[in-house]
Amino acid sequence: MRADLAIIADLVHQGARVLDLGCGDGELLAELEHTKGVNGYGLEIDPDMITACVAKGVNVIEQNLDEGLANFPSSSFDLVVMTETLQAVRQPDLLIDEMLRIGRECIVTFPNFGHWQCRAYLATRGRMPIARHLPHRWFDTPNIHLCTFADFERLCNDKALVIHRRFVVDTLYRNRPLINRFPNMFGTIAFYHLGRSR
């Protein structure tokens, strides 16, 4: 299993009902169905990715996250997952509210704009950072709402969300002591396991 998927799979209960926002080629859901017997659905808009999901037997729904999730009833899923998509949506804060309306819990992963390479790039060159985990140029990037881990945690705090777990890794999805000591400086990808406000 891909390392990032393994991290998420560890957090999923057997037989859970899972909604994956921006499910790509359906690898996560296929794995979860295979190993955890979940009843999973994925939302995706890329035609080739959707066909790849169909070929895997994944329940893929063609739906644009930016058009909202109003068609999903409240508390209709155990878990809502969104991997490396948060930074590409139009209203990430509202989407997190929606994820926790639809699911009891959610898992969100996104790249860290506060990584030291980004900071150094901007500080020394005065230009928009390009790094291994953020390879796009400013004009062709799908990432319109980049943030740092600190920014994200402030948002969670403002919304009074419960952070059940935070897992921070490097670009190869490895967890290192230095990353644990200074996640917002040395981590590139974070996995946040969130629950509803207290």
Binding site: R17, A30, C53, A55, K56, N59, V60, I61, N71
Partner: protein, 394 residues
């Protein structure tokens, strides 16, 4: 080389008849004392009888879905783009059954048949048929062919509604339901268009209260008008602009200018009026209007679909305003709430409702991928990713 000899064609096909001598009780309370169904098959039924696919036709369709009746036919069956060797419904893998529904005018028992109780043509006295009645008759045909459970039941528009009804009425007899350009029930606008078509027919003096055959007449003008209205609703504004624009028909001659769209509609209407039965058109549009499987479940579509055991593919087209993507979404949302396996796609195309009959590349790609999934989930094809277990939990 004739068209029928092409490697992706099912080739020359011969319609077959099945006679059912026991009565079929209909939803309207009446019954057919006996009935015939005309059908075609493509491909080969496997030893376990697990690879059968039922194709359900739409409003003006019939049993001739693929291939050619003679080597000189210029046009193949109505869904030839989707049925054949290597096509989405791959006849190398599947045994395909396509029939003409009861009430039809292409050989199955309908208004042009003799009523055995009166020994005269049924005509306007043919009982009102519903989608549920068609599905019941199709189940009799499945019994006749030795098919206990269909691998898939597939249809576009009114055909998709039959596939949906199957999943609800015979949950153990259908593994996959493919609902293309369908809706859970008609809107007031849909019914309005159907009523315009019906009124065009019934107000034609040649209709003779439905006894036009005995009067040696045919309500051609009414049928033509019905088809012209229908045809406009099956296409999108963009599609008509791409196809016709404001181009003038050359060789008009008469002095009146005629736009190409006008002569196209006249041609479509005229050829339809000469081949289709007016009473059948009235019956089929009524069945469409009345279709509403949720009604039997307290108007709760989730409850209606909860009884289904099939997996679903729901496909719509962006410019379809007859049964828009929003209508398909109602079905998808209900299926998700009912915890059913479902794939939903919305194909971007200018071709409107009729797109389900056309070779739209992305549509055919995802259709093929889904049918491959049907094959491997039922164990008669290999999974592309070589995973050992069967597909999603079902």
């Amino acid at each position: 080389m004739t068209l029928a000899a092409a490697s992706d064609s099912v080739g020359i096909v011969t319609p077959q008849h099945a006679a059912f001598e026991s009565a079929l009780a209909l939803k309207c309370g009446r019954q057919l004392p006996r009935f015939d169904l005309v059908y075609e098959t493509y491909g080969t039924l496997n030893a376990d009888h697990t690879n059968a696919v039922l194709v359900c036709h739409a409003l003006s369709g019939h049993h001739h879905a693929a291939g050619f009746h003679t080597s000189t036919d210029r046009k193949p069956g109505w869904w030839d783009v989707c049925i054949g060797p290597g096509k989405p419904i791959d006849t190398n893998l599947f045994f395909v059954v396509s029939l003409n529904n009861i009430g039809g005018c292409h050989g199955s028992t309908g208004p042009r048949s003799i009523d055995p109780e009166t020994n005269r043509l049924y005509g306007p006295d043919f009982p009102v048929v519903s989608v549920a009645d068609w599905v019941k008759a199709q189940a009799h045909l499945a019994d006749h062919l030795g098919i206990e459970r269909f691998a898939a039941i597939v249809g576009g528009s009114l055909g998709g509604m039959q596939a949906m009804q199957w999943a609800i009425d015979f949950p153990t007899r259908i593994a996959h339901a493919l609902l293309i350009a369908a809706a859970p029930r008609l809107s007031a606008q849909n019914i309005a268009f159907n009523e315009i078509a019906r009124h065009a027919i019934t107000s034609d003096p040649s209709f003779h209260a439905g006894r036009y055959l005995e009067a040696n007449d045919n309500p051609e003008r009414g049928l033509m008008l019905a088809r012209m209205v229908g045809h406009v609703t099956y296409q999108s504004d963009d599609g008509l602009r791409d196809k016709f624009g404001r181009r003038i028909q050359p060789n008009g001659g008469s002095g009146d200018t005629q736009f190409q769209i006008e002569s196209y509609l006249h041609h479509q209407g005229r050829s339809f009026s000469q081949t289709f039965d007016a009473n059948t058109y009235l019956l089929m549009t009524r069945a469409l209007d009345e279709f509403d499987p949720a009604r039997d479940y307290g108007d709760d579509l989730v409850a209606a679909l909860s009884v289904a055991q099939a997996d679903f593919w729901v496909c719509s087209f962006t410019t379809d305003w007859r049964f828009s993507p929003a209508r398909s979404k109602e079905i998808v949302d209900a299926l998700i709430s009912a915890h059913k396996n479902v794939v939903s796609t919305i194909i971007d195309t200018a071709q409107g409702h009729d797109a389900f009959l056309l070779p739209v590349p992305r549509y055919l790609d995802v259709f093929r991928a889904y049918m491959q999934r049907v094959a491997w989930s039922l164990g008669f094809a290999n999974r592309p990713d070589n995973r050992l277990t069967a597909g999603p939990a079902s």
